[in-house]
């Protein structure tokens, strides 16, 4: 079902059908996006469920003049930020960094089948500050245009380009020390 058709269901107040259509159309894409923030499948699964429950609860507040795509992505990126905040706090309690906490979950994850380069790029992402991480994931992996990212993150295109540039160079520099 297209985003326009789903928006129509929301407009008609058919939230159950709209939600089922969102789950069918968006779950997989959201999961792969969120997986880049999470250390493991279990974390990504929790995060995805949190996002979809937020979507469900917020459906009646969806303004049909906004794009469904942007709206869902915004909820997902906000939840991803909350996930990072909560995990940073957990890491502080263990006197370790968020990066090492995420890396340890990632190292233990049996649902990773990439090669060493792919493993190291994920570790480089774990090292980035939250805002740079968001921009890097959306731009590099999801390949969204800056204008769309600007709507999702409510940040100017100029600022996004600067964040992406910093993130890109950090990830690249890290990988160059390994390969």
């Amino acid at each position: 079902m297209s985003d326009e058709q789903i928006t129509g269901l929301i407009q008609n107040g058919d939230y159950d059908a709209a939600f089922n259509a969102i789950v069918a159309a968006w779950s997989e894409r959201l999961y792969w996006h969120l997986r880049r923030y999470a250390g493991s499948h279990e974390d990504a699964d929790d995060l995805l469920q949190d996002v979809l429950v937020k979507v469900w609860k917020a459906l009646p507040t969806f303004r049909c003049d906004s794009q469904l795509f942007t709206w869902i992505y915004r909820i997902a990126t906000n939840e991803a930020l909350n996930f990072l905040r909560k995990n940073r706090f957990k890491a502080m309690l263990k006197a370790e960094s968020l990066e090492s906490l995420l890396n340890s979950h990632f190292d233990d994850d049996v649902h990773f089948n990439g090669d060493e380069l792919q493993r190291e790029v994920q570790k480089a992402i774990n090292m980035l500050p939250d805002k740079q991480k968001q921009v890097f994931i959306i731009r590099y992996f999801d390949e969204l245009p800056y204008e769309q990212i600007s709507e999702i993150l409510d940040t100017s295109v100029g600022s996004l380009k600067a964040s992406y540039h910093h993130a890109y160079n950090k990830v690249k520099a890290y990988l160059e020390t390994k390969f």
Partner: protein, 118 residues
Amino acid sequence: MKRTDDILKDSRLKEQAFTVPEGYFENLASKLETVKAASGKTSPAGRLVPYLAIAASFALIASVGTAILKKTVHQPEEEISLESYYSQLVNDDFSEDEVVSYLLCYGISAEEITELSK
């Protein structure tokens, strides 16, 4: 030798490196039905449950001392302090009264809460 190519242009990096358990996406919809039903019935007290560990941890942190923690924890660029975490709890999810009552219930002293809320 320094690389001359851009390693981030390697096409392997855009390939999917993660997997999911078999049938994960197929079973997600039915799993969500349960979560969806439960989410509508959550009481205000229930909403605080996920923060149980965090609240209890305030006591631990207070006893160990923020100063020691700051010395031992790696400082990320956007490190969140306990004080700002407290602010986030208040701003994002709960009223200040809810957070304070909750922390008091779990043995955090009024003085410690006052310090966090400054």
